[in-house]
């Protein structure tokens, strides 16, 4: 170590000390005491705890609210049949053993077997996922293309005509159930005008109505945030300076304010994209869009319990992971977060 230090003082080329095992250990320990590492470790532990509680909740609800075997057999099945099913699915074993088996298969990526399709739930889920991502991406694009310009327009014209129009758009987006928007669109564009296909997937035309129905709510949320974020930025000192310098309004807004106002909106959009993948169930049902929401609906309709359970677990896992990643990225960018908590 002293050798290393002297060379540094002498102005020699800085070189890292030889990494022997004996020296790596304190370095690792040192790393553990860094605020960032501590933050990541703690936040990951919380995320794992969330996932554990989620699995426990789902497991618990399924067993407490009724006998899963009853979901499998026809009404009026004999006690022998029910007992056979119990044995087949291990439902006659102690609860903690059942939970252990449930968890260990989860860790192997096994979500069980679909009752209806007789194939692994994971395979079904993965085969539907690309469609859901496609729909969510289109809805996201729509919500940003509408939401961000509308938010800027409203922020620049606070209290005036365009702000009121924006408020109305937001209010309607938050107040109309997405499936009703979808049904009205089918009525108008498929039944009366005959312009767009009412259901299914395959062409870009199929994507327009579901993306709009799903995206409106989020467009409203993005518009609200863009507006308030723009207002905050427009009130800041550096914008005042830019104006005092005599820069034209469009330049101030487009170059100075817009970039900074966009950061929170894009963060929200990131979270919302994951949410869109997971909450599209009604829109996918209305338009018969073959995504995971539709899979969930079929699971309910066919009493295909492993499918329902699998979709909910995967959705929860996806959201917990994304939240964890966002927190870590935020802590990397903003030291107050990792030091503060």
């Amino acid at each position: 170590m002293s050798d290393y230090v002297t060379r540094q003082i002498d102005g020699g080329a800085p070189r890292s000390p030889p990494a022997t095992a004996a020296r790596a250990m304190p370095a690792l320990l040192h790393l553990l005491h860094l605020p960032m590492t501590r933050f990541v470790v703690r936040r990951t532990a919380y995320a794992l705890l969330s996932l554990f509680l989620l699995s426990l909740t789902i497991f618990f609800f399924v067993r407490v609210t009724g006998d899963p075997a009853m979901l499998l057999v026809e009404p009026g099945a004999s006690p022998d049949d029910i007992a056979a099913i119990h044995h087949q699915f291990g439902l006659d074993r102690p609860l903690w053993v059942q939970y252990w088996l449930f968890m260990s298969s989860l860790f192997h990526g096994d979500l069980g077997q679909s009752f209806y399709y007789q194939t692994p739930v994971m395979g079904l889920y993965l085969s539907r996922l690309p469609n859901s991502i496609e729909l969510a991406a289109a809805a996201m694009l729509f919500s940003l293309v509408i939401g961000i310009p509308a938010g800027i327009l409203a922020a620049v014209n606070v209290g005036r005509f365009w702000d009121s129009i924006g408020k109305l758009f937001t209010l309607l987006g938050l107040s109309m159930p997405s499936f009703w928007v979808g049904l009205l669109m089918i009525l108008l564009f498929s039944v009366y005008l005959g312009w767009l296909p009412s259901s299914g997937a395959g062409t870009p035309w199929h994507l327009i109505m579901p993306a709009f129905a799903l995206g409106w709510y989020f467009a409203a949320a993005h518009m609200r945030l863009t507006r308030s974020s723009m207002l905050e930025v427009l009130g800041s000192e550096y914008i005042k300076l830019a104006r005092i310098k005599g820069l034209p309004q469009t330049l101030v807004i487009a170059k100075h304010a817009f970039k900074n106002a966009l950061i929170p909106v894009l963060t929200l959009a990131g979270i919302n994209l994951v949410l869109m993948i997971n909450v599209a169930v009604v829109v996918e049902t209305v338009f018969a869009w073959p995504g995971i929401g539709r899979l969930l609906y079929e699971g309910i309709a066919f009493r295909d319990f492993p499918v329902v359970q699998g979709v909910v677990i995967m959705g929860g896992a996806m959201i917990v992971t994304v939240n964890l990643l966002i927190d870590i990225v935020y802590a990397l960018i903003d030291p107050r977060i990792r030091l503060g908590s």
């Binding site: 969330s50 989620l54 039944v191 997971n278």
Partner: protein
């Protein structure tokens, strides 16, 4: 105006009335909510027909102003010949009952846990907050669908499911407020005076957070009404033949492609008006009752 006259004017009993001007009130949302509430209460007197029994020979009748419609069925009939207007009227009752009871249930649960978590701190706080985080990590609607699918459809099941799904927001906000409140003088004095933790929570903390709970409740009402409609639309909510608006929309799909628009437009309009009013009222209450929540 002279100063004494100004003081006299401001302290007169009429000052309070003057201060609250008519334009401060969200008149339209209050009127809509009031009308829907009255319709829900007097559904039996107002509905011209039985909402659950139809005449099969009178199926798919359009509203009275369209060709083929009659004043017998003002807003037309559905696929079983049931009167749409009567179903809408009784549907208002279901939406209001489910909406209000679910919001109150979620509010009571969330406020209770929020106060407990904020005031007691320590491991109680840890447990409640981890539970809240877990709950918030789930897509609420998907989780509600999951619960409804295993519990089975019934109106009261939906109330309980929506309650256990949507309590987290209350718990978060209320806990934050309690953390600030418990450092205040009056709470410290209560501790010095020897009040038990329970008494402090009930008599000193609860009255101070109830405003926030009401504001959150009014903002949640719209969310819960849409959630109920969604569950019913998917067939895991209020079971048929009850006239829930979401269920009516689901039934209306049968006539959608042949252009029976009244089965789709009217129930959705009902949901939209109700949720719109609830949201507007919530925004107004937020500004009036709780300036701290304006940023929400």
């Amino acid at each position: 105006m002279s100063i004494p006259a100004e003081i006299a004017r401001r302290s007169s009993p009429l000052a309070a009335v003057r201060k609250v001007r008519m334009r401060d009130y969200p008149v339209i949302p209050l009127a809509i909510l009031g009308i829907v509430t009255l319709v829900a209460i007097f559904a039996n007197q107002l509905a011209p027909h039985n909402p659950e029994v139809g005449i099969l020979t009178a199926r798919f009748k359009p509203p009275f102003w369209q060709h083929g419609g009659s004043t017998e069925y003002l807003l037309g009939t559905d696929q079983l010949g049931r009167d749409v207007l009567s179903r809408l009227i009784f549907g208002a009752r279901i939406s209001m009952v489910v909406g209000f009871t679910a919001v109150i249930f979620a509010g009571a649960l969330g406020t209770f846990l929020g106060i407990l978590s904020g005031y007691l701190g320590g491991w109680v706080d840890q447990v409640v907050m981890r539970l809240t985080d877990t709950w918030l990590a789930l897509p609420a609607l998907t989780f509600a669908i999951f619960l409804a699918a295993i519990v089975g459809p019934s109106m009261w099941n939906i109330v309980i499911i929506l309650g256990v799904t949507y309590w987290t927001r209350y718990a978060r906000v209320i806990r934050g407020e309690v953390l600030a409140l418990k450092e205040r003088e009056f709470v410290r004095l209560a501790i010095v005076a020897g009040c038990s933790k329970w008494t402090i929570m009930r008599h000193h903390i609860l009255p101070n957070v109830i405003n926030s709970a009401i504001v959150l409740g009014s903002l949640m009402l719209g969310v819960v009404i849409i959630a109920e409609a969604t569950l019913s639309f998917l067939g895991v909510g209020v079971p048929p033949p009850q006239p829930a608006w979401g269920l009516m929309l689901s039934d209306g799909k049968q006539g959608l492609m042949v252009g029976y628009w009244w089965l789709t437009v009217f129930p959705g309009l009902g949901i939209m008006l109700l949720v719109l009013s609830a949201n507007l009222l919530g925004d107004w209450l937020r500004v009036k009752l709780d300036p701290q929540l304006r940023q929400l």
